[in-house]
């Protein structure tokens, strides 16, 4: 939970998740709605339940479900990009400033931003300087689905 909360803070999210709302299964975190909770009568063998939030790694590794929730939330830090930039980002590349079409609310060096294309979140990164240039350093992207299965 500590790493998850740190990620939410970094992205300026107002989402609050209490310990009671979050279910941990192995190293993964979930929220489970009341209808599903009512049918959760056996814990043995359970590996996944409800809305997957992500898992603990060195940094918190967010799920695409959590990223999309955060992207839909007003106030979270976001950069909006076109399809080509979104594709490069999910291939693991960093984003150069000129690829960014819009920043919410403004560029803050060191802050974390969700990367959004057409209203859908493809990952997140941190604004840094790289020599003379400013880049959004890729910290996590949806290409992870392919890396997990390779």
């Amino acid at each position: 939970m500590r790493l998850l909360r740190r990620l939410l803070r970094h992205l300026n999210s107002s989402l609050t998740l209490s310990e009671a709302e979050v279910t941990r299964i192995n190293d993964k975190y979930f929220t489970i709605g009341p209808v599903l909770i009512d049918r959760l009568r056996v814990r043995e063998g359970l590996v996944y339940a409800g809305r997957y939030l992500g898992r603990d790694r060195r940094l918190f590794e967010p799920s695409s479900l959590l990223l999309q929730m955060l992207a839909s939330e007003p106030g979270t830090y976001k950069v909006h990009v076109g399809r080509a930039a979104a594709w490069l980002f999910v291939c693991g590349r960093d984003l150069f400033e000129e690829s960014v079409e819009e920043i919410e609310p403004r560029l803050i060096l060191g802050a974390h931003y969700l990367v959004v294309h057409g209203g859908r979140c493809v990952g997140y990164g941190r604004y840094e300087t790289a020599g003379e240039r400013r880049v959004l350093r890729n910290l996590f992207d949806l290409g992870d689905f392919l890396r997990r299965e390779s």
């Binding site: 709605g33 063998g45 590996v47 479900l65 999910v90 493809v122 689905f145 299965e149």
Partner: protein, 293 residues
């Protein structure tokens, strides 16, 4: 009892002349939890992909041409569509669980049909997925996450023995089976009748358990991608003889279930099942819709 000539001879005896070279074209299924068909088709066609709607599928499209891997596109990673063979889109479509159902997917890996069931449920109700392979369940977890599914519980366990403390209104049993040559070029050199018989025995255990887990009035959709009647019509005949079950007629592509199998005459109700031979735009497939009085 193995080899190409042996199996093709069996199919001929069942009334189907096949070459053994039939294949199935790639197909995708649009995920309505994430996007409308029109949007996905427009984006993919903008990237040079050519698709053709499959008339009997709700969200299925045959891939006519693609210059890149459709399993590694931006839209795939966003969960807007999945790659799913044409016939394998039929079981969940025919079962059609709704938002108030308590549904079970008994052998869920790799998760294509599980996410399809969730889509029919509008990500509401309760969907429980089970598989006996922990390694293959990682693919189910990834599919649920990618496709935006939040109404599911996943269990690692043997579906023939599992007790989850609940009964279900809809059950999908897409049973582990011998498969067919249309999706596996080495199939003829791998499979023997001993495999078929072992699979049929396992499938009967699963079928019996599926019926126990079903609420009265509920529906069980049994499917395999096997062409062997021991795993298909003969299992349904066994179910009718040994359990209180009824068959609902299935309309759609393919042919009625066989009622005459190697000189054995089956219950005429078995014709309500559906059998798809490879070569008609799909792989080999079998479907039975079982209801519990």
């Amino acid at each position: 009892m193995r080899g190409r000539e042996f199996f093709l001879g069996r199919y001929a005896e069942l009334g189907q002349r096949l070459t053994g070279e039939e294949t199935t074209p790639q197909a995708i299924r649009v995920n309505p939890l994430k996007a409308g068909d029109g949007h996905v088709i427009e984006v993919l066609e903008g990237e040079g992909v050519r698709l053709r709607k499959i008339p009997y599928l709700d969200h299925g499209y045959r891939v006519i041409h693609s210059g890149f891997s459709l399993g590694a596109s931006l839209e795939y990673l966003l969960g807007l569509y999945s790659i799913q063979e044409t016939a394998s889109q039929l079981p969940a479509q025919m079962l059609r669980p709704g938002p108030v159902d308590v549904a079970l997917d008994m052998c869920s890996a790799p998760g294509g049909k599980t996410t399809q069931m969730a889509a029919y449920m509008g990500d509401q109700g309760v969907l429980i997925a089970v598989d006996s392979s922990r390694d293959r369940l990682y693919a189910v977890e990834n599919s649920l996450e990618r496709c935006g599914v939040t109404n599911a519980l996943i269990y690692h366990g043997d579906a023939a023995a599992i007790d989850l403390g609940t009964r279900f209104t809809k059950v999908l049993l897409d049973a582990p089976c011998s498969g067919n040559y249309a999706t596996d070029p080495k199939w003829f050199s791998k499979r023997t009748m001993r495999d078929v018989e072992a699979n049929a025995a396992r499938q009967r255990r699963l079928l019996g358990r599926a019926l126990e887990l079903l609420e009265p009035g509920g529906t069980l959709l049994y499917s395999t991608c096997s062409l062997e009647p021991e795993e298909d019509e003969l299992n349904i005949q066994w179910l009718l003889e040994n359990h209180d079950a009824e068959l609902a007629p299935i309309n759609g592509p393919g042919a009625p279930g066989l009622t005459s199998v190697f000189s054995e005459e089956l219950d005429p109700r078995v014709s309500r099942c559906r059998r798809l031979w490879p070569g008609g735009g799909t792989q080999g497939f079998f479907l039975a819709e079982v209801t519990k009085p």
